[in-house]
């Protein structure tokens, strides 16, 4: 069948099986992404990796005991051994000098080893329906059946309900466990509950994602969400959405190519979301930081031009004189290309005007130039007064700060320095009110 037809068939959800798979993947991705946010913030991301690997022996034992592939029983087994794994990690840390990372590695490798030993015993014993168990390694979203979805829906809803109702308390134990115990919260119990919820969210994802890579669905959505917001509840929602989207897209890819395991595809999708977030998130994304940096450089360049022209006008107490580009370049050893670009921008902003290819400041330009010079001199005065820096140390610092001082900081400087009129070099500090005539 054509790719297009398959795509339509998948997303139209006409097929009941497809509906189950989509709904199931969405639920498990959302639950893992949301709860994973807490693990991420507690810097216990890799605990998820150990939890997932430690589930494998449980899967195998449940199958060995019951001889059938009932998801509820298998997941109960997984929950059981994962929990033992978590308890062991904590026990190792508390009873020896080994650190968290080592304890995680010990439990992960030993439990996973036990799981593989059991799986290969099951395989060699040759019971008929065992073939599905190895799907728990790398996951198979297509294996989600109607019954499974009902189970996923019940568990997912329960997880979500508990997380929402206890959200304020979880928030405190994540950010300030000391304060939490001091204010009488049962921190140990809450931490236990939170860990349990996280373990369960890992377990319900095993079928689709597999034990080897399930942890990624826990920490990668959270890390991606962190790039977009500082607000915890928004972060959880966003991480859930990222997790759910990864689940659905992974299931889609697995639908197109049923021979491939789903887990790796889901990880590729969620990692792609992460990389996109790191690059493009507003404010802290790499791209927007680069743009901010460029804008600031341009602003600095423009303000240097304004200041240079303002100062030369100040000498004559007359700003109506026009200058050629090369004359302006001489004021400040400007690079010519940067100067031309700056002048073009300033002209567009109405701060400079050109008369027969020569340039002068407009009224706004004059007051802007005065502002830059004023900030420069205020800062010099501040440094010299409060830090008693020698005169020859003031200029370079002020040369940077004049572009950064905000109006509020300016107001505070003026107040702190008591409306100063002269800078440490005894030069006048230009105030815009009344001093500027064009």
């Amino acid at each position: 069948m054509e790719l297009w037809d398959l795509t339509i068939r998948f997303f139209s959800m006409a097929d009941a099986n497809v509906r189950y798979v989509i709904f199931g993947s969405m639920l498990l991705g959302g639950a893992a992404g949301g709860l994973g946010t807490f693990a991420f913030l507690q810097r216990r991301s890799l605990v998820g990796d150990t939890v997932a690997h430690a589930a494998l022996p449980g899967v195998a034992i449940a199958f060995l005991l019951t001889g059938e592939k009932n998801l509820l029983i298998i997941l109960s087994g997984a929950l059981f051994t994962s929990w033992i794994g978590v308890v062991l990690v904590n026990y190792i840390i508390s009873r020896s000098k080994l650190k968290l990372d080592t304890a995680l590695g010990i439990v992960l490798s030993v439990f996973f080893g036990i799981g593989i030993v059991l799986l290969s015993i099951i395989q060699k014993s040759g019971s008929g329906s065992q073939s599905g168990l190895d799907k728990f390694l790398f996951g198979q979203a297509a294996a989600i059946s109607k019954n499974d979805v009902i189970l996923l829906a019940i568990v997912g809803t329960a997880l979500l309900a508990i997380m929402t109702s206890l959200y304020p308390k979880f928030k405190i134990i994540v950010f300030d466990p000391l304060f939490a115990s001091a204010s009488g919260l049962k921190t140990n119990f809450l931490q236990f509950l939170l860990s349990t919820l996280i373990v369960i969210s890992v377990i319900i994802g095993l079928q689709a994602v597999g034990v080897v890579l399930m942890a990624a669905l826990l920490f990668t959505p959270a890390a991606a969400a962190r790039q977009w917001t500082d607000n915890l509840s928004k972060m959880i929602m966003l991480a859930s959405v990222f997790g759910a989207a990864s689940g659905i897209l992974g299931a889609y890819i697995s639908f197109l190519a049923p021979k491939f395991p789903t887990g790796p595809w889901i990880v590729i999708v969620v990692s792609f979301i992460f990389v996109t977030s790191i690059l493009f998130a507003p404010k802290r994304g790499v791209i927007s930081k680069m743009r901010l940096h460029l804008n600031n450089q341009r602003k600095t360049n423009r303000e240097h031009i304004l200041k240079a022209l303002y100062k030369s006008g100040q000498k004559l107490n007359d700003w109506s004189k026009t200058y050629s580009i090369s004359e302006i370049a001489n004021f400040w050893s400007f690079a010519e290309s940067k100067l031309k670009y700056g002048i073009r921008q300033l002209t567009r902003q109405g701060m400079m005007e050109s008369i027969n290819g020569r340039y002068k400041l407009t009224d706004i330009g004059i007051s802007e130039g005065a502002r830059v010079l004023r900030l420069h001199r205020l800062w010099e005065l501040y440094l010299s007064k409060y830090l008693e820096l020698p005169e020859d140390h003031l200029h370079r610092d002020a040369e940077d700060m004049e572009h950064i001082i905000t109006p509020e900081i300016e107001a505070r400087l003026v107040k702190l320095l008591d409306n100063p009129q002269y800078d440490p070099h005894n030069q006048e500090i230009p105030y815009t009110d009344g001093k500027v005539k064009s």
Binding site: H293, Y382, L387, L389, H393, R396, I404, I405, I409, L416
Partner: protein
Amino acid sequence: MEAPIEVHDLTVAYRKKPVLWNIDFELPESKIIGLIGPNGAGKSTLIKAIMGLLPTVSGFVKIYGKPIKDARKRVAYVPQRESVDWDFPTSAFDVVLMGRYGNLSLFQRPTKADKEIAYESLKKVGMEEYADRQISQLSGGQQQRIFLARSLTQNADVYLMDEPFVGVDASTEKAIISLLKELKDRGKTVVVVHHDLHTVREYFDWVLLLNMRLVKIGPTKEIFTDENLKLTYGGKLNLLSEMAEKVGEHR
């Protein structure tokens, strides 16, 4: 005569936000100098920057007139005690011997002479009985003495110590300070990051008051005044940290 430490116009930034700003000073020889300032003032950062362990935005440091990379052997650094894992499998003597590693070539092992120096240093801090003791079995004060002994093996001219008095018992504190005085009497320069304002007058010949910027530097008697402390710890310099935030956002 070149100054043991000359810091010129030094700016250090963490994630583009300045933590030390245009620091400028020279330190005299044969003095114990207290480096004092509130939390987050950049005291440890200044020590690390002098050691050349951090990238700098601007400025330079000179040790006896030479850039730090040519003068490393003249400077000994004592990191904060909490900065290492004391469960590490090694003995007190081995830690002290590490002070000699800087003098060894790539494949060279510590020689007998190095071991003798290490043993002598252990003696100087009164820890020779503990030479073979595992470091995890030492008290906080003893661990600090081991760190001090390690720096003594370097036979340096300048000592930079990051909070050597934190978490040590009274007798160790006394032992350390008398050791520092002995170093001073031998013409060494000792810079100590310090928290306890009560002991400043007793311990230090000079103080360097720091709060992102160099606030004041000079002989303790002149500089360690209520007024200057207010300036260092008080709100007048709040503007600086706010500006630092803005600079971080700007770059």
